[in-house]
């Protein structure tokens, strides 16, 4: 592998990551959305691994492996189980239709490039375009949380935000200290499990996981 090839591969993965993020937003069904998330995490793991290898920060390999194991395999499995157990409809219900969501997403990519452009606040160590990518991933996660009706989509959105933060951590600082990194992973995992339980409980209490129904809780 020559010195030109690997960085351009990483750049390629970065672009793929953005495209997969779009896929996740555009997916008409929950299953597709989860698969997109798995792919997103897989690409994230690859990027992390390559950064680790090229920059000789071997300890980053552990988070890369954990990303692969937890986010690419385990968490999607948990989600599929939840969907099966709940027997909810596969179609994604959204306040904003999918074309318009994509339009907003494009706008957000612009915003993220604008706000981080030549940023002094957020300075990347290696790959300059990864900062706006990470920010736009975070934005996509937020967009997902705000526009989707089902509670399960909010959880997915939160995980997407988590991916964005992880990407940012890796690119700004070559990853946070390992202990923190691992802690974050377990947080994400435990978060998913707890939110899964909550989703069950919400359905038990409201007969649906439609977050709209929670308005009755208002005082």
């Amino acid at each position: 592998m020559n010195t030109e090839f690997v960085p351009s591969l990483i750049h390629f993965f970065g672009m793929m990551l953005l495209i997969v993020s779009f896929w996740m937003l555009a997916a008409p069904q929950i299953g597709a959305s989860i698969r997109a998330y798995a792919t997103h995490s897989f690409l994230l793991a690859l990027i992390t691994a390559f950064i680790a290898l090229t920059n000789h920060v071997e300890h980053l390999l552990i988070p890369a492996f954990l990303t692969l194991a937890l986010k690419t395999i385990l968490i999607p499995q948990v989600f599929f189980r939840i969907i099966r157990r709940l027997g909810i409809r596969k179609e994604i219900e959204s306040y904003v239709n999918i074309p318009f969501t994509l339009l907003l997403a494009v706008l957000l990519v612009f915003v993220s490039f604008y706000v981080t452009g030549e940023g002094k606040v957020l300075k990347s160590v290696s790959f300059g375009e990864f900062i706006p990518l990470a920010v736009s991933t975070i934005f996509f996660g937020m967009l997902m949380m705000t526009t989707r009706k089902k509670a399960i989509n909010q959880v997915l959105g939160l995980l997407l935000i988590e991916n964005g933060l992880f990407l940012m951590g890796v690119t700004i600082t070559f990853g946070m200290p390992l202990l923190v990194e691992i802690g974050v992973f377990f947080d994400a995992l435990v978060g998913v499990v707890i939110m899964g339980v909550f989703v069950f409980k919400i359905r038990g209490a409201f007969e649906s996981i439609d977050a709209d129904d929670m308005t009755v809780l208002k005082g």
Binding site: V111, T116, K120, F139, Q154, V216, K218
Partner: protein, 732 residues
């Protein structure tokens, strides 16, 4: 001498805890906690008197690890004066409390110790024993109850026998006094606020002590809200001073006073005025006072009205005379305007009250107005450079602080005695108490005469001085002052006359005539400790008047600490005479008392000589040929105040409501109901619009609270993007 101060503090702490060592509802808890409090009061009186007489101030500095500076306690003459007022009044109220709180133990003065057995065989003729004081409908309830099913009756009686937690009362009572003591001695803004809040909170818990009554709870909430609004302003004032000086210590505030910019100074002044004005109860910030003070147990009401509102005056004076340096002239004028409004409106509303304690609370607002008149004149003179006159005005204010603490304390204790003897505060249900409760009547009369500023009692002395201070301004002031000050003086005269009317009503309706209800018929005299507590205050009402020249000498020393020059004592006091600094007038309370006494004895002797030994014949009052005299024929409190209600109808806006019942024809009338109400303009014009505004704003704010989780998330999302757009992009 510091020993006495430490003793006072530790005795209060002990007193706060002591109640919990015994049965918390019992007599032991009551005695221990209140006796310790009165001992603490005695120690405090000794300590404060020592400083006042020798002029040696006392300092204690504890270097803490907090970044706010050391905890510095200092008792200079000015603080010692307030220490004296607080300690002296708390000594009297604590003694009074020993007898008074017995009522809360579920047994009245006719001892029936087996209160636990009591409710199984309820005796309907027994007087209400707890929690039903001041409730005019109590007897009605009682009669209704006796017709209830036995089970129901049992539970209700049981509920009534709920003894109050005396230990808790003692705890907050001691804490309250302790906080006040610390407030007037602390020399650090941070700790000041801490103790200030402690004082407010302790008094809040005392106000809601009889929390089973809904009006008590609502009064407590109002008090808490108002006192917090006040604290916001106080904190602002201190915070601005902190920004200016970079330190919380009072000494640095004083040192930095000269360098304050005028705008800064004005903001601080207004914050202090609003903040301390709320606590002092100036109109229009007074609304909590007439509600909260009467709800507290009477000895606490006495402390709240007697000294708590004065701590606000203390702190306000610290700001005006210490922290803010030279003061612009219009501050004094503004204070005078506020003061005269409070004086007049306070007493006018007091006149319309039938609730004895509420009447006294309104009268406190009047007296705060009188005190502030002295303070305002002091500032006005100060800006004119008339240090001598300024000192005289300040002495008038300080003297009235002391006097008001004594006679208002006495009157509140008197109201408490009436309450414990009759279980009602409604004057329309009292009457004829002078026969059943002669001691209470005598003490109350002394207090009433003192507060009406009649010689030879103490109220006269300080009000005379306030008058002189105002009239001195006519000699020196500007053209505007020449015009306004005589008006001010005459308005103060009007307030004095109204106060006299008010207390003629309070005393006459409650104590004279015939009993108007069962409450008054069943009245009983108060216990010994209560008599002692009131006796101390009644004696000092007289003593303060007779020893006025000496008191003024001490107060004069206090004012010297502020003016930094030794003003000649001879210009205000010569031998037995108090003298106006302009030499225009002078008077000697002692001589006046002798003349009055001589007049009374002289006329008695003369009558004896001219009329000889005629036998006094006691017969029934002449009843105009009616079959018999009934209580309903007497002047009622409402009737007595009717002329004033008409004269000041533009202010009261009285509304009346008459309901007639008849059997088919107006000549066959069976019943007639009459109801009259006055409106409170401050409530109507200030607080109601304010409350409406706030609630409509809250209604509008409700629109963005839909309960959709996605909406809340998008608030965060949009805020984040906007922030990034505005600030993130600029970093390049």
């Amino acid at each position: 001498m510091a020993f006495f101060f430490f003793a006072q503090i530790s005795l209060h702490i002990l007193g706060a805890i002591a109640g919990f060592l015994f049965e918390q509802h019992g007599e032991k808890a009551n005695r221990s906690t209140h006796l310790l409090a009165s001992l603490a009061g005695t120690a405090g009186v000794v300590f404060a008197l020592y400083i006042l007489l020798t002029g040696k101030s006392w300092v204690l500095e504890i270097a803490g690890s907090l970044p706010v500076g050391p905890l510095r306690l200092e008792a200079d003459l000015f603080s010692a004066f307030f220490l004296f007022v607080i300690s002296f009044l708390s000594l009297a109220t604590s003694l009074f409390a020993i007898g008074y709180t017995r009522e809360y133990q579920g047994k009245s003065n006719s001892p029936s110790k087996n209160s636990k057995v009591n409710w199984t065989s309820p005796n309907t003729n027994q007087f209400p024993q707890c929690g039903n004081w001041g409730n005019p409908d109590y007897h009605k309830e009682k009669e209704n109850k006796s017709q209830d099913s036995p089970g129901n009756l049992l539970s209700k009686e049981n509920g009534c026998q709920d003894k109050k937690n005396i230990a808790l009362l003692g705890f907050f009572y001691n804490l309250f006094i302790l906080a006040m003591l610390l407030v007037v001695t602390i020399r650090n803004a941070f700790y000041f606020l801490l103790f200030w809040e402690l004082m407010s909170l302790a008094s809040y818990f005392l106000v809601i002590f009889e929390h089973e009554k809904p009006e008590t709870r609502s009064a407590g909430v109002l008090y808490l809200v108002m006192t917090h609004i006040g604290t916001v302003f106080i904190s602002t004032a201190f915070w601005l001073l902190y920004i200016h000086t970079g330190s919380f210590s009072f000494d640095s505030f004083r040192a930095g006073a000269g360098f304050l910019s005028p705008v800064f100074k004005n903001i601080i002044f207004f914050s202090a005025l609003l903040g301390f004005g709320t606590k002092a109860g100036i109109i229009p910030l007074h609304i909590w006072l007439p509600k909260a003070h009467p709800q507290a147990p009477s000895h606490v009401s006495a402390l709240m009205s007697g000294v708590m509102i004065k701590t606000a005056i203390y702190a306000f004076l610290r700001f005006l005379l210490d922290f803010l340096g030279a003061t612009p002239g219009w501050w004094g004028n503004l204070i005078l305007a506020i003061a005269i409004v409070s004086t007049l409106l306070g007493i006018l509303y007091a006149l319309m009250e039938h609730d004895l304690k509420r009447l006294l609370a309104f009268s406190s607002i009047e007296n705060i107005g009188i005190i502030l008149l002295g303070v305002g004149m002091c500032l006005a003179f100060k800006t004119q450079g008339q240090t001598l006159y300024a000192a005289f005005a300040l002495v008038a204010a300080l003297f009235h602080i002391l006097n008001h603490a004594v006679f208002k304390g006495l009157l509140f204790l008197g109201a408490g005695a009436v309450l414990s003897g009759t279980h009602t505060r409604n004057m329309e249900q009292l009457g004829g108490l002078i026969k059943k409760m002669p001691w209470t009547a005598a003490y109350f009369l002394i207090g009433a005469v003192a507060i009406s500023a009649l010689p030879p009692l103490n109220g006269f002395v300080s009000e005379w001085m306030t008058f002189v201070a105002i009239l001195l301004g006519i000699e020196t002031g500007s053209t505007g002052m020449h015009f306004f000050l005589p008006v001010l003086a005459s308005l103060l005269g009007l307030a004095g006359a109204l106060a006299a009317t008010c207390f003629v009503k309070a005393f006459g309706i409650s104590f004279l005539g015939m009993p108007r209800s069962k409450h008054a018929t069943g009245a009983h005299e108060i216990s010994g400790s209560m008599k002692l507590g009131m006796g101390i205050l009644a004696t000092s009402c007289l003593a303060l008047a007779l020893s006025a020249p000496w008191v003024v000498k001490i107060l004069w020393k206090i004012t010297n600490t502020f003016s930094n020059v030794n003003l000649p004592m001879e210009s205000v006091v010569q031998k037995l005479f108090l003298i106006s600094p302009s030499k225009a007038s002078q008077f000697s309370p002692l001589l006046l008392a002798f003349i009055l006494l001589g007049f009374i004895f002289g006329s008695a002797v003369l009558l004896r000589i001219f009329l000889g030994k005629q036998k006094v014949r006691i017969g029934p009052s002449w009843d105009c040929g009616m079959p018999r005299l009934e209580p309903r024929m007497q002047y009622s409190a409402t009737g007595y105040s009717k002329p004033l209600r008409r004269i000041f109808s533009f202010l009261y806006q009285p509304t009346r409501h008459v309901e007639l019942e008849d059997e088919g024809h107006e000549l066959l009338r069976t019943a007639q109901r009459f109801e009259t109400k006055i409106t409170q303009p401050v409530d109507e014009w200030v607080y109601k619009p304010l409350a409406n505004l706030i609630s409509s704003l809250s209604q509008k704010a409700k629109h963005i609270q839909t309960g959709h989780i996605q909406l809340y998330l998008s608030y965060i999302f949009i805020t984040l993007i906007l922030l990034l757009l505005f600030w993130g992009g600029h970093s390049s």
